[in-house]
Amino acid sequence: MRVRVELFGRAAEQAGVRTVELDLPANATSATAAEALAERYPRLEWLRRGSRPARNQEYARWEDPLAEGDEVSFIPPVSGG
């Protein structure tokens, strides 16, 4: 399945892009997506431990299964305000 990963802040700067298309196996989860992302962008390895996953703009869990066309992101501790 194909998913789109949205990157922000430090992660976007490290990757040099704000959007990454990933081709994942059919049973992929948020964790699988983070690992595939880190394979392509080794500097983003910290996201798997240092962020919360989001799926289609809502907080999710690492073990939640993904679906074709999902918008995935990894949310480090926030610092707005």
Binding site: G9, R10, A54, Q57, S73, P76, V78, S79, G81
Partner: protein, 169 residues
Amino acid sequence: MAGRPTGCRAVSVRSHLWLRRCVKKTGVENAVQIEITPSPLSLEPLLAFVQRRGYGGVVTFTGNVRDYNHGRRVLYLEYDAYRPMAEREMRAIAEEAVRRWDCCIAMAHRIGRLEVGEASVMIAVACAHRAPAFEACRYAIDTLKEAVPIWKKEAWEGGEVWIEGGQDA
């Protein structure tokens, strides 16, 4: 109740009932205004949105960029957001405030580069009375800082760093 209300208690109960009807009739979503923008913030449109008949207590919060953070002189901040999710999260916070405190609420967050002294966030809350307005406003800014996917990068002389988590709270 016949005739005009004569005491404070009667006025209070009447206005409270009127407010409940108002929120019910207009719906929670009509009591909420959310904005994420690269443009400078102003309280006026937020106040214009929340000020309505029967809402006697109005509280605002403004967060400005400080000149010093952890003893370092700040040159400027740069805010980045997961914009659609940040808007959804801010809306969820505001709607929860409306349900809990019977209020109207407007929240605005700026993104992009901000200079020292500029406002990064503004919140306006109107309730029937002041106590719930203060509580709702406090809830809104505290929860925004915990849950809304927005990040700031701090630039100082000789360096810059993305702030993650509440170390600068």
